[in-house]
Symmetry: C3
Subunit: 342 residues, 3 copies
């Protein structure tokens, strides 16, 4: 997959590009338009890269978009004519790792614009490409520039507020995809893929390259790489174990129509229609008693071996303390009114 | 109960009212004043509604407030004379569901101003009345207006930061009730009822139509509809199960002098003086061993059946794994210094 | 230890100093410089206090710093010449409790600048010295000034956003120490001590007088007074029990190379190389089965008695429900790429 975007870049005091905003990223341009884009970037067709555009370059993009009947791109180019900050054009191949700040930002934008799904793009090395920045009330600031700017603001009786010091910004400063609610957007990184109809409550969290397929109620944490199926509900403070830190090695996912209870967690994939009882943390290696519908023991095995079974309830027996897996009875429905979006 | 308020409204680019701020909401106006208010709104006495006031309308309100010796209302009307945004008068009946954006906001203000307690007002259908908005560094913005405004800001080298995409704003942008600390106000919705002497720490959360009676230490989550009694302590990440989503059906409440430990939770009401051990999630249906003061088994029953018992400790026996309920010994006191407010 | 700093103070409408920002706090000035500083503050040598400096006082500081070859202090004094807000000089002794707002802020700065470690300074009574303030989009505001300012902003179509109502501000508005990432800085108080190489994720929290020794991955809560050793990992929503509220009396600490799993917690100190399984809350009084490497029972004792043992795994047996402590096998490594800072 080939992606491209016109972007506005932020520079630090050393004139390095530290961040890029792409108002209208896009994928799979037509053959002729793709050739024009590569030429504008000074790239061989099919390669990744970016180039800062001067006024003439922006007009060339405008003309090429017009000729390709890409009218939204044309309009965006027209709107960027009077940008104070530097405008650039970036091209990215999904198979190649990001090699520049603009390309890393373009790949993250694609996820949050729902143009690429988690795991569809090569993001190897993104941590070393991205700068660790202060995300402030005046936008992204390099850490070496920060103390001087903070003192300068204070002298005028102002505060330069630093909301985050991170390589990844919050998604909502770049794009709010359709049909979502995001109660505390500081907890959703650019690069989250949030399906139409998802509500992320204040305790919810979504990392980059992770997200939800469609309608969902997220009050727990979706770690990097984790996808949650439609009509599933992650309870408050529930956890999906990631593989970036902490020793987790299983790639976790959550099926459709699942409910992970409040303060519960999973260290293994969960099949469709499963419930994990509030408060139970189901690690991949936990030894679990599998029961049949009558409550008879079927077998004792590691939780991971049960990860393919649909419509199961996982609970800790409150008299024996044993973790049990049994066929599920009751149906869990998401609250309709709660999920009615405007 | 009849409530009213002068408000300043926000409109989107389509000129819909999307939000209203009421600096001085009030309840139960005197009979004459109430009649004047209804007339100003063009309403039959006792009905709910709102009307935008022109300069003349605002003067009429001012005169009526003066005549009713409502001097704070009079002063507020005077201060609103030079408002840039539209001023409106809204009247709301507690028994009727909200039918407009201003009325929904007025009802939420009443809760956070401690003029109405949770469950005292009809809030049916509030999710469909309220708009899903971007709450930004420049105030509330309609989602259809957002991308254009974000691009416009970026072209000038600025960031239009989106703190939340939600139907409910954070309370503290409207009112900070007396005697509270709110460490991270993004986690407290307008419509929270927060008692005098409550500290909400960074991990605390309070939904609308929910809150605390008085002094309390809240480091856990108070779900919609839940009330917490005086001198109770919700530990970090503790959970009170709500009924809006996730299958909970019991209306949860917490008595006085309770302690819900860190990472613990309840899916049932808790009587006065109860402790739930850190890490224990007590669902309504969990089967619990009730013990007497000597540790002898009294009976085995569902946790819900124990929800009326005061001064109990709920724990999971760390040798047998069984959930136990036993008479409580030690006394838990809130830290005095921590609760000294300015 | 003697500390000092030039600061810019914020005042409320009653002209009380409510907050102070110290761009370059320092400790242990040379003998001559220390004497000059005390004289400038009108203090006996060795005493704590502060004084607002007029232009002449600032020049005296500048001259004294120059004479002491304290060139960074000299430069800071020069930069403060055109400050709009009042400039003050504050001196603080680590052994004495804070007696003024500037001194309390100086002590908190020292922690976050890594000039004083947790527990190294006397902070007795800091809750009563600090004002409870609204931390807004326009800086700190006294609560009595807030409603008027909020109405004033609204009349112009603006929002005075209140991010927090607390005695402690967020650290990052004052200093970002080197080599850290702080995903959601609203959750880190001024007075946190954050070691070089620490990443605090969105779910992480660090109170004042608490923190990390060096490299660490913090996705859980570090309560007041708690220190976390190098190369340790606190999983998402994990809890370290504090002693400020909730009945905890043991001072908790976490050794080196530890992993506290997601949704787990400790109410006791943890020695080097220990793992607490995801979801397990280990209170000090929990009765635990200590096992040897072959799984044989060594003894049954309170968890607190095991707090000195290194390289142990604490888990709840998923078949018997008993909490067990056994020698640890696998090695947990922090993710290198994740911890590469710029």
């Amino acid at each position: 997959m080939i992606a491209f975007g016109l972007g506005i870049a932020s520079r630090n005091s050393a004139l390095d590009i530290i961040e890029t905003f792409f108002p209208l990223p896009a994928v799979n341009p037509g053959e002729d338009f793709a050739r024009e884009l590569s030429a504008l970037c000074g790239l061989e067709p099919g390669n990744s890269g970016y180039r800062t555009l001067d006024a003439e370059g922006l007009e060339s993009f405008h003309a090429a978009a017009s000729q390709a009947f890409e009218h939204e791109q044309e309009r965006t180019a027209a709107r960027l004519r009077d940008s104070d900050g530097p405008v650039l054009l970036c091209i990215s191949r999904s198979q190649s790792p990001p090699t520049s700040v603009p390309e890393a930002f373009l790949k993250l934008h694609l996820l949050s614009h729902r143009l690429a799904r988690p795991h569809e793009q090569n993001l190897d090395g993104i941590f070393s490409v991205l700068h660790n920045l202060a995300w402030t009330s005046r936008g992204p600031v390099s850490l070496q520039d920060l103390p001087g700017m903070q003192l300068q603001a204070r002298k005028k009786g102002e505060t330069l507020s630093v909301h985050s010091v991170d390589k990844f910004p919050k998604m909502s400063d770049y794009v709010v995809p359709s049909g979502v609610r995001l109660a505390d957007s500081a907890r959703i990184r650019l690069g989250a893929y949030i399906g139409e109809g998802t509500t992320v409550m204040h305790e919810g969290f979504i990392n980059f390259n992770a997200g939800t397929e469609g309608q969902a109620m997220i009050e727990g944490r979706i770690s990097a790489g984790v996808m949650v199926g439609e009509n599933s509900d992650l309870g408050g403070s529930s956890s999906t174990m990631g593989t970036l830190s902490g020793g987790g090695t299983e790639i976790v996912s959550v099926g459709r129509n699942c409910l992970i209870g409040a303060n519960a967690g999973i260290g293994m994939p969960l099949a469709d229609g499963c419930i994990v009882e509030a408060g139970l943390y189901l690690t991949a290696g936990a030894v679990v008693r599998e029961l049949d519908a009558e409550g008879n023991l079927v077998r004792t095995c590691k939780a991971l071996e049960l990860s393919g079974l649909a419509h199961r309830l996982f609970r800790r027996n409150s008299l024996t303390g044993a973790i049990e897996c049994l066929p599920r009875k009751a149906h869990v429905a998401l609250n309709e009114e709660l999920h009615a979006h405007n």
